[in-house]
């Protein structure tokens, strides 16, 4: 019975392919692409369970079970980078959304068209440049010998400050540049929600004597809530993924700053190009993928319960 069933399925599949030959051909490059670049590396995560030897390849290397993970837990690396990744992402998410909503609301209150257009464009501008340039900006501002910040400090009569050897101050610098570069993008998403609000609601509130503060408090913010919840929840789903490009360009290989600035992605990267410990890096990467996957599924299940039409799948 089962055999006949699968035989039938194959038959109908091949009939389908013959019928829609061109459609299959048009999709083929994309399917092949995803197989090669996304599906084939998945079983490659097995490298996390071996002692990787370049000559023997992934499946020829010696199987060591959970030894790589054990090592990472014991030396404290895993805990440190997990904590840093989660904390940074949480601050990015909470502070980021507050700033984005605040500026979307404030922009919507601005009457002058040209002022609104120009400021909106400027606030979005940082989104367009590469993180390498952001690294240049940091160098330009915080360099010990020539940096702008030190020039301001010395002209005010203070000592020069060695920013690049103080891990604590980089927490704030990283958060600053993250907010700086990412505000414009979601601000526009929020702004488009505000522009979509029916103006009659505001008019009737005005007639009822509500001032602009009240209109924001009782109309605009409640209207933004669904978008906020959606963006926030899916931000939570990506909590284990780091902003590698930002961290790498600000911190680079400055190991003095690592205690406060090392995240999962920078750790995996260094295991690849610095220490060449592929198995250790893959172990961290596997841990990140699995827990990241569980996180997304959990968040999606929650969204499905609260607001089914917002669920991603």
């Amino acid at each position: 019975m089962l055999q006949i069933n699968s035989h039938n399925k194959l038959m109908s599949m091949s009939r389908e392919i013959r019928k829609n030959k061109v459609l299959f051909l048009m999709l083929l490059p994309t399917v092949v692409y995803f197989i090669i670049f996304h599906y084939i590396p998945m079983p490659g995560a097995y490298v996390a369970f071996v002692d990787y030897n370049v000559n023997k390849g992934i499946f020829g290397s010696k199987f060591v079970g959970l030894k790589n993970f054990q090592f990472l837990v014991q030396n404290g690396d895993l805990w440190r980078i997990t904590r840093n990744t989660l904390l940074y992402n949480f601050v990015f998410l909470v502070l980021g959304n507050i700033v984005q909503i605040a500026f979307a609301v404030m922009l919507s209150e601005i009457g002058s068209k040209w002022f609104k257009k120009i400021t909106q464009s400027i606030i979005l501008l940082p989104h367009f440049i590469s993180m390498v340039i952001v690294g240049v900006f940091a160098y330009n501002l915080f360099n010990y010998d020539y940096g702008f910040a030190n020039m301001v400090l010395t002209s005010l009569g203070f000592e020069r400050y060695e920013f690049y050897s103080d891990p604590y101050i980089w927490k704030y610098i990283i958060v600053f540049f993250k907010i700086w570069s990412s505000t414009g993008y979601n601000m526009i998403v929020y702004l488009s929600v505000i522009t979509g609000i029916n103006p009659e609601i505001y008019e009737s509130a005005y007639i009822d004597g509500a001032n602009s503060w009240k209109k924001i408090r009782y109309i605009t913010l409640p209207m933004l809530k669904p978008t906020f919840v959606l963006l926030f929840l899916f931000g939570l789903g990506g909590m284990l993924r780091g902003s590698f490009e930002l961290f790498y360009n600000l911190i680079g290989n400055n190991s003095v700053l690592f205690p406060q600035t090392d995240i999962i992605d920078t750790y995996v990267f260094r295991s690849l190009v610095g220490t060449f410990n592929f198995s250790m890096g893959a172990a961290v990467g596997f841990y990140q993928s699995v827990f990241g996957f569980i996180l997304v599924l959990t968040v999606n299940a929650i969204v499905r319960k609260i607001e089914p039409e917002y669920a991603l799948f």
Binding site: F34, S121, I122, F278
Partner: protein
């Protein structure tokens, strides 16, 4: 609900004005903060080496000089080469990516394509789970042999699940009756895509094309992972190397040997950054409209 007294209206007006003032100043201030690093980078690139060494980077230098740019222009081989690589990656990557992803979006949107949901999930799943950086690196280097190959900077970014869904979602707005009447007129599946769907999808193509082009223009990550020969460095990676180098290395990197003390090494770093960002800042006013439109097309849901 409320009875509107004269007093009330005045109070309403006062607090509204206060809000207006707060909004204008905070938005204006934040815009200045966004602009500041750009301004500092540009003015720094016009500073004389002497002023930088003695007084540091400034927003308002005492003296403007173009010596850093003169230097860049007098030894342009490496920079021009990096520009060529970046332009090549951007043009090829964007064109190929747009073609393949618009086709995929079109197929996934065809109601007569029985397996469209299966393939949509097949593509979507890759955004949820990945093998990670190390397995992909091993695949690229050991099994595909792409180390130090220009394709290593294009292939990893040429197709993205999100853009395929953005395309498909946009194409959903094209009425089915157009397909039907075209089919009756004898047009094949590919011809409908090429002659009907593509021209109608120009807004989506413009948006995705812009996203893609921006990604390829700003790409340095894959270059850092896979590219070894300096002749294949793209612009951003070239810039990153320049910033992290000491003065002497910069000279070697730029391909010259002259008296070091004469050289505007600190302003060269900033001038290189200006030259690498220039085209984006120049094109920005023209393209940001499409970008904003694209954000509202379907950025939230895949």
């Amino acid at each position: 609900m409320f009875y509107k007294t004269k007093n009330n209206v005045i109070r309403q007006g006062l607090s509204d004005n206060l809000l207006k003032i707060i909004c204008y100043t905070s938005v204006g201030l934040f815009a200045l903060i966004c602009l500041f690093p750009f301004a500092l980078m540009i003015t720094s690139s016009f500073m004389s080496e002497k002023e930088i060494v003695t007084e540091g980077y400034k927003l308002f230098p005492k003296k403007f000089t173009v010596s850093a740019y003169k230097f860049l222009l007098s030894n342009p081989q490496k920079l021009v080469n990096a520009y060529k690589i970046t332009i090549f990656n951007t043009v090829v990557g964007t064109t190929v990516g747009l073609f393949l992803m618009s086709m995929a979006g079109y197929v996934l949107n065809r109601k007569d394509f029985k397996y469209r949901n299966f393939f949509a999930f097949f593509i979507y799943f890759t955004t949820l789970f990945s093998g990670g950086l190390i397995p992909r690196y091993i695949l690229m280097v050991k099994y595909l042999g792409l180390k130090d190959n220009i394709l290593a900077m294009i292939l990893p970014n040429v197709i993205s699940a999100w853009y395929i869904f953005l395309m498909r979602n946009f194409m959903k707005s094209i009425p089915d009756s157009l397909y039907e009447s075209a089919t009756i007129d004898g047009a094949g599946v590919f011809r409908i895509y090429w002659q009907i769907v593509l021209p109608l999808s120009i807004p989506a193509l413009a948006t995705v094309g812009l996203f893609l082009a921006l990604g390829f223009w700003n790409e340095w990550y894959n270059a850092m992972l896979y590219i070894e020969s300096p002749s294949k460095f793209p612009l951003q990676y070239f810039l990153q190397k320049t910033i992290n180098q000491t003065n002497v290395q910069i000279l070697i990197n730029q391909g010259v040997m002259i008296d070091i003390s004469e050289l505007p090494t600190q302003s060269i770093k900033m001038a290189t950054a200006v030259v690498a960002t220039g085209p984006i800042i120049f094109l920005y006013p023209f393209v940001q409209r499409y970008f904003i439109k694209g954000l509202t097309i379907g950025a939230i849901k895949g």
